[in-house]
Amino acid sequence: MNGRFPLAALAGALLAGAALIAPASAQTAVKIGVLGDRSGAYSDISGEGSVVAARLALEDFKPEQHGLKVEIVSADHQNKPDVGAAIARQWYDRDSVDMITDGVTSSVALAISQVTKEKNKVFIDTGAGTADLTGPQCSPNTIHWVYDTVALANGTGGAMVKRGGNTWFFLTADYVFGQTLQRDTTKVIDKNGGKVVGSVKTPFPTADFSSFLLQAQGSGAKVIGLANAGADTINSIKQAGEFGITEGGQSLAGLLVFSSDVHSLGTKVAQGLVLTEPFYWDLNDQTRAFSDRFSKQMKGSKPTSNHAGVYSDVLHYLKAVAELKSTTDGAATVAKMKAIPTDDPLFGKGVVRADGRKIHDMYLFEVKKPAESKGEWDLYKKLETIPGDQVFRPLGEGGCPLVKG
């Protein structure tokens, strides 16, 4: 009796195990990696918020009902391309991750995109700015979801020139993102009859912008274009106020400003700043509902457009995977995502173009005056909706080899 019992138990356990495995194998296992900045300058834009957004997307999609079993992992690329590429490689090779999202910081995004193509997986970038991701460096495995340097240039750049800001001086963060942003904004300024009178490349990151602001002030340009992001933008706007830049008649154009940056500056310092974003928590009932759920898990912070992008791209990715019932061929999954139109509560209806560019409307916002703001997160008023087909670069002009003709 003693001898037989363990055997019976073992047999029972095996049966039970088989019973457990059987329904699981009918489901497609999907692993999503959120690879962002969790500790550095962009961690409020990306970081834990992106993981929360991905989880909210799972809650809403209900993967079990679509035959999917989804797991989310996350890591910190520290804004370093080599670190980002190494994590992506390890995730794809060893941890069987199928899709990477977030990917804030342009230089890191380009590196992840390379690795993803090599391994035939899927990369949906939300946080990086460089339009080269869907231009010369486009890839059949990469989608660029939220915004890009061309859209920012068309939005804020175009609006400022139309308001009479026809001479520009750039403060440019000295890396891929800053340089492409300056390049793309310069094109818009030239096209609208404006002129760039000078620029200065600032090391990334920089704490003290006074010297660069003084050069900008001395240039006499009507608009000072801030081709930077995160803490750099916050510091340059804060110090511009100190040096009386706006009082002197020059205006600031924050080319990439997130709501978390404006929240940090406060409306007193940031009032009147014009900026372009594809998402703001207070746009409509759906964005407000999402933001409430997000805030509850994020100590009251509201989601940035990057967080909204992660939510939206995870939903769309899962739709495509649910139809394909497989994640093995990354390029095929991306092709499917391009074939089905996008539709979600935060960005509305849209499409993913052949070059990997996701198309949706962008909004031109102005930061409210302290008197108009009703709470610490009541930051923007909407000036204009810029339709997706006007704000993004036309399909044929990016130089992406995937676009035929």
Binding site: T202, S210, G218
Partner: protein, 295 residues
Amino acid sequence: MMTIFGVPTQALFGQLLLGLINGSFYAILSLGLAIIFGLLNIINFAHGALYMMGAFVAWMLLTYFGLGYWWALGLAPLVVGVFGVILERVLIARLYKLDHLYGLLLTFGLALIIQGLFRNQYGVSGLPYAIPAELSGGQRLPFMFLPNYRAWVVVASLTVCIATWLVIEKTKLGAYLRAATENPTLVQAFGVNVPLFLTLTYGFGVALAGFAGVLAAPIYSVNPNMGADIIIVVFAVVVIGGMGSIIGSVITGFALGLVEGLTKVFYPEASSTVIFVIMVLVLLVKPAGLFGRTA
């Protein structure tokens, strides 16, 4: 208009003045580091984190207690100093007999922990802190617009640096301190409480960092990474000036601020590296630093 290498002289004056202002931060921070290293032989990597704490304490005083900038200028260094005293008593004091490396590792670890805690609580975007009303606005000088607050930073920093130097070099207390570093056993034999001296010195050194943090709060973003960004530069300043040389650290702090300011005009891309290039050159030619004495 007169120009030097294509840059108008007027613009150049402006940049030099700004360099001097940035130099003020380097000077106060490197002064604290130099005092701590000179008297305690500890390479205090937590200095940047304590500078950041100074700025955050200023913000907390305003937000939770309604106490403004001038209160913060006095209270924040005190809070940071007391925190430093606790750190020294509980942890650092155990390392005096060991190699420098242990102190460096301990304080580096502390810096990461302190930054991590603040990041977890407040995020990285930073918190708003306004320039006090008395110091807002600025003066239109012939060559630039000088914000009043920046002028105040230079004055405050110079005053603190000179006062500290005077205390250490010219008073009896300073003499005790210097003696305690040279030969602690002998000084103790004269009835001076050396461990207490060391604790207070560490507390004072980090209070200087807290003071610099309050000065920085209205002009830089008050965020958990603000110390990590500046501390490496400040270490380079201390190395160039000569580890432990008090007057050396102050002079080098201001001088390197000027050099950095000039680099921002002629070749801005290099402005974050120029100090390290100078550090390498100085170490090659004068390994003990510009003002350091070779042991």
